[in-house]
């Protein structure tokens, strides 16, 4: 046997290849989006689509892929911890506007859960698929934690979170063009609670207050959902 196939058969080489492919495609997609900021060029959308095509083209299984790139998913843990910084830096905003933010978070979460459940039932989606839809409005690390807790499938939820992000960044602009929303606080909350990180990025382009509010409510609503889901699962 020659050295080359032997090397490619090594699990370590596979892992390295998939990791490098993921990081390179992501970095490339980010650059392209910075140059041409169209919604259908969002790295959130382009990277998984290209990687998926690569996987199917090479007849590789998801198992092969995630075995090599699982370490990237593990970094969602430290990313969750990093949210402590924006919370701390926006403490003045929290102190001054906590009742308003809290109302927005409760209304937003309730609407997300109720409409996801109701609409899913309406079109005949049930079981783990319906449960996986419930936490899709909140930021990924929190959404995956909630999904596992309530009996959903975290990998399905990750897909739904992505679709929500892309849809939300587009829908947010359409809604703001028709709905008379005067306060920057409400515009920020719309993006942060409706479309997590992707929404926050869009809100930051609209204005500084919008971006700060969106980033803050995104984190707080994620934390709130994790706490409520944990509590609900223990008590019910």
């Amino acid at each position: 046997m020659s050295a080359m196939p032997l090397l490619l058969a090594e699990p370590a080489a596979h892992a390295l290849a998939w990791s490098v492919a993921t990081i390179a495609l992501y970095a490339g997609a980010k650059r392209i989006y910075r140059r041409w900021p169209r919604w259908w060029l969002m790295p959130l959308l382009v990277t998984p689509v290209l990687l998926g095509a690569l996987l199917l083209g090479l007849h590789a299984s998801y198992r092969d892929y995630i075995d090599g790139t699982g370490w990237l998913a593990l970094l969602l843990g430290p990313a969750t911890v990093a949210f402590a910084l924006p919370i701390y830096e926006q403490r003045a905003l929290i102190r001054r506007h906590w009742p308003v933010l809290l109302v927005g978070m409760i209304v937003g979460s309730f609407t997300a859960i109720a409409t996801s459940w109701g609409l899913a039932t309406l079109v005949g989606i049930d079981g783990a698929m319906r449960l996986s839809l419930l936490p899709r409005s909140i930021s990924t690390p929190f959404a995956l934690a909630v999904s596992g807790d309530i009996g959903g499938l975290p990998d399905l939820t990750a897909i739904f979170v992505i679709i929500t992000g892309v849809a939300g960044a587009v829908l947010g602009d359409l809604i703001l063009a028709r709905l008379p929303i005067a306060s920057a606080m409400a515009r920020g909350a719309l993006f942060g609670i409706g479309a997590h990180g992707a929404g926050t990025a869009r809100a930051s382009q609209i204005g500084e207050t919008e971006g700060a509010v969106a980033g803050l409510v995104m984190v707080l609503v994620g934390l709130m959902n994790v706490l409520v889901a944990t509590l609900a699962v223990r008590l019910l």
């Binding site: 998913a73 969602l76 430290p78 911890v81 609407t111 990924t140 829908l171 809604i175 609670i193 207050t209």
Partner: protein
């Protein structure tokens, strides 16, 4: 446990070391969750730990800012691998996928409209009734 001066100076320079410190908080959170049997993700406990240290000024924002912002800016990269499970869920590529898309679009629009209206009403009510709530619009 105020960080020593030399360590702070070192942390101030390196984004990688700062990110490693954040990873340290996460590991501490995971350990606490295991040992004490806390029913929350380790990341959430790590977040609480870091927030307490920041609020009590035992940890300066300068020692973690660049590392934390780096992790947050590229968070997208960390969950793309999980989302590729879509290749194992071929049912999503058919009619079920369209139904899911409808649910997500309609629900996201509903969440955005409800949230924006609630916050806007509440904000205006407070601005009119509570003196210290006057802020930038």
């Amino acid at each position: 446990m105020r960080l020593s001066r030399s360590l702070s100076a070192l942390l101030g320079k390196s984004r990688l070391l700062q990110a490693a410190l954040v990873v340290g908080f996460w590991l501490a959170g995971e350990t606490l969750v295991r040992v004490l049997g806390i029913p929350l993700p380790g990341g959430v406990i790590g977040l609480a730990l870091m927030l307490v240290l920041l609020a009590t000024h035992r940890l300066e924002t300068g020692s973690v800012r660049r590392g934390a912002e780096w992790l947050l800016a590229d968070m997208l990269l960390f969950f793309i691998p999980v989302a590729l499970a879509v290749v194992d869920h071929r049912e999503l590529l058919g009619f079920t996928g369209l139904k899911i898309l409808f649910v997500i679009l309609a629900s996201t629009a509903a969440v955005m409209i409800a949230t924006a209206l609630a916050v806007d009403r509440c904000f205006r009510w407070r601005a009119a009734h509570v003196r210290d709530a006057i802020a930038s619009r």
